[in-house]
Symmetry: D2
Subunit: 320 residues, 4 copies
């Protein structure tokens, strides 16, 4: 009986195991409630699940991440074809230091942590555990589990607070991150589909390769947005990898591909760039309505096309 | 019998009388041979002939003119609706000094000349006739005729060389212009029609008003061309006339409105500017083929539109 | 006795005769009161007076002029060396139609007027005197005087209102200009001297030749101002005269050469342009204080130089 | 006696232990031969050695690194005061897979590797060892040593080829990197000093924070270089870390701070940016002479200053 309904449930991949920040992001997705949550080990696996149909969508950290981070995900989005970003979620980042049951802070000499999490807690560690050594980990949650079953030689691990709900660990310290307001931004990635309808509070993600490495090329790319009144909320350079000094740019632009100004900017980018990848138009995590000057409204674009059509058909202009 | 064929002949207006540089420009128009040439007194009259159907077309001087000049014509094109430039012609500018039959250079004390022609011969006049005084004229040819019949108090007139073929004047000096290679550019203006087919050696004339007077607005306008690989062969500022510091720009851009890059630039200008006037796309006087980077070719524009259409319809990208 | 004090009086040249708009501009110059006012016939003569020491300064119309106009003056400033603009004055432009004593409007058939003044009254003339013909004049005031003594065949003349104070003419119509708020801007030109002290409400006049004719060159020139927060109140293109399509630009920039941002822009222009002429820094006619972003203040420039000096001398940076 | 000469030897810190790519970079430094080479565990330690005087200089990987990488080093340079880059070195990147003496490729199930090195060999690993698991390591060389003494549970390690010269390991596979021409760029960092004399083949490294997050700010920054003919060989964005969407840019610009155009660009950047850090001017690793348009030469800058000085002192211009 259960099996009848099972096929209709959707699978969502996320960087596991349970307790990660990525799981906290997935918990924000209304459509994912009561669906199947599939923990994976890295971004490549998450995207592969989407591409081969194992999962309906995958949650991955995209900016300022602590569990695997920006550049891996950005590079994956740049190279895996057939995927689209369909949603954005932001999770506050905070850390706890945990040990085996019964451990105390005074006992800690070896701290296991993902290098990025480690870097984000370095101030607290230097002050509270000046003699500690670092054991790098591929995943904070996974290494904490290794700590519990003895596979990890460390005697403490940095972990997200969610670990406390899932496992029997000793809480050694809370709020050990050096920045109170740290955030990680996640995106939900699905298969290529037609973009969802605009909500008025959307962003569009792109990856653009520059035609060559002179600074004028970057300015020319930026003008494609500026000349249409489009603000960028993310602009990150990533080496293309074929030679020193060659870059692609990861871009989040305000607006939706169904907006005339955004579609026109995409046309300009496509003509300009040897490679531009459309990653998707989707609602912003903060639901902030996109504002832009009236002169870039859809009506202005439509009116200009009508005007040009009149010119081409030989109509006299009226009160142009 | 003659009347039967007369209706089929076309009328061309030009700044007369016979002998002007404008007539020399009209003589270059193959289609105007054996048609009716109608001399008029100024640009406004010439354009009015076109608008009210008196003439099929009118020849007017547009740049570096000596018979009435740039700004009058540019302002007229900016304000008279329903007209289009359909051709461009260039005439070398040279001047003679003429008097009544029997006159000699030694007798000359009062020189009649249009102010622009006068300015172009000032070096020669200062050297050869240091004591002369200037009688300003509305037209060099007309004032020469006035000289012949006594209505003009001057005893010499500056005139185009063509005057010698039409009238019995005494040639007092030749080649008196201060610049050997002076040229005047003329345009043939007709009623608004669909633009003629591109020849590959075309230019497009525009008048664009800036949205306001800050320097950024001009840069933004220029970017509409630069970002599409379009060179400008003319960029002239003209006061709009409603306040100090407000300008419109008279522009000749390489290419034809049927070229994708030019049409796209027109759309950009139209969205940006409170007023943009399309004056026409027509063959260049010098027949020089327009060259532009391959990345601005029609194919690139078409390909970008196909790509965007694929995105909007949810097609996966192939080898983008 | 009078002769003793005479040598101490200064001479000011202006486009005469008495009654012109230029004289009205000169009347605004406090320092010129009770000095010698020398009427001249054209801009070239006025500037020559300054260069050869005949006059201390000369008043010339520079923008939207009605008595000889913009382009002549701009071209003269571009080519006469050794001069500087030392002040700016604005005069409202208005016209009267005058005739010989006893004349009436109904008698008028021939109207004498400078072509620019004629153009500015064309609306009124077309409506009130539809049958009139135009007699072009080199100067409105001079031609009015010719009208009075019979040397001018016209039976009415367009003139500035000032004519009524100096001559016995019949006023046929007032306020005949088509634009109520027309203005002419004049500059007072003297010999090259050190610039006067800044007042906070200054402008700087320049003439800049572009290195070549591509649109990028103009954008690059404009960036020299934009990148230093300097607004332009005048930007006029003028053909250089050696070939079609080559331009120089006449520029009025907000600020004074003693302002760091303006001096730095001048350095940038000089490096960029084959020819840049500094025409002067002087108080604005409207005495409007120049506002600019704090980041372009003198202090910011001084601080940056101190910082660079520290780098070059190997000092460690403090809280940069 | 030995002790007498010891003090005169200089200490160079590098990411150790012996056998790393960083050591290979240090081996390129002529001045470092026969000096003391001090292995350290991370970039922070290397820079601290310089700041506290323990070492004369430190070699750190800066771009496309495999032993700890770009972002850590870039962030360290942005935040540690009192240091300067004094040289640049490039090392080809290649990898070997090694095991304990007697091991064979068929035995390998657990591969130890720094995550970046792991990512660079993923293609080879997926093909040759499809069943392997990854043990993340903080350092490839250190984890190889742990492998040899049993502290590392892995049975193979990815390492730089240099490991073969220093340790008794079994070579399991060579050239396992997925890119044949991978390179890592290193910089040698010392205490703040006056910049070394220009060689004509120099670069200048900077870190610039944007005043705010709109795209126009980045374009304005890039213009500071473009408007002075300066090419950029590196432009990398790094989050500032205080909020999502705020970036600093790591820049390598062609030329030396002793070049007029570079010094002028630095002044422009300093005025524009809330924070700009000068990291140094130093010879390029490839010794390629920097070419730039003649109009940006030192002579042009000097001439412009002389011209401005003349203006300010009231000298008439000569043939400007």
């Amino acid at each position: 009986m259960n099996t009848e309904s099972e096929p209709s449930r959707r699978t969502y991949s996320y960087l596991g195991p349970a307790g990660t920040f990525t799981e906290a992001a997935l918990a924000q997705v209304v459509e994912a409630r009561d669906q199947i949550w599939r923990p994976v080990r890295n971004v490549a696996e998450a995207l592969a699940d989407v591409v081969d149909g194992t999962s309906h969508a995958a949650m991955i950290a995209i900016e300022n991440s602590v569990d695997g981070g920006v550049s891996t995900a950005q590079d994956a989005l740049a190279t895996v074809p057939g995927i689209r970003i369909i949603g954005e979620y932001v999770v506050p980042v905070n850390f706890v230091l945990v040990g085996r049951p019964g451990a105390t802070l005074a006992d800690v000499s070896l701290v296991s942590a993902h290098p990025v999490a480690y870097a984000q807690c370095l101030g607290w560690l230097s002050e509270s555990l000046p003699e500690h050594a670092h054991v790098p980990a591929a995943s904070n949650v996974a290494s904490t589990l290794d700590l519990l079953d003895g596979a990890n030689p460390a005697n403490a691990a940095i972990a997200p607070p969610g670990i406390l709900e899932h496992h029997d660990v000793e809480l050694l310290a809370e709020n050990i991150g050096d920045k109170d307001d740290a955030m990680t931004r996640f995106v939900l990635v699905g298969k290529t589909v037609t973009p969802p309808a605009p909500t008025g509070a959307d962003k569009t993600s792109l990856i653009v390769e520059l035609p060559d490495d002179h600074p004028g090329a970057l300015m020319e790319m930026l003008e494609q947005f500026a000349t249409r009144g489009i603000n960028l909320s993310l602009l990150a350079s990533r080496p293309i990898g074929d030679a020193l000094g060659r870059y692609r740019f990861v871009i989040d632009a305000d607006g939706h591909v169904h907006d005339e100004r955004v579609a026109d900017a995409l046309l300009g980018l496509r003509r300009f760039s040897p490679k531009v990848i459309f990653l998707g138009s989707y609602p912003r995590a903060d639901r902030a309505v996109v504002h832009y000057p009236e002169r870039y409204s859809d009506e202005v674009f439509v009116e200009a096309r009508d005007w040009l059509r009149g010119i081409l058909s030989g109509e006299p202009e009226h009160g142009s």
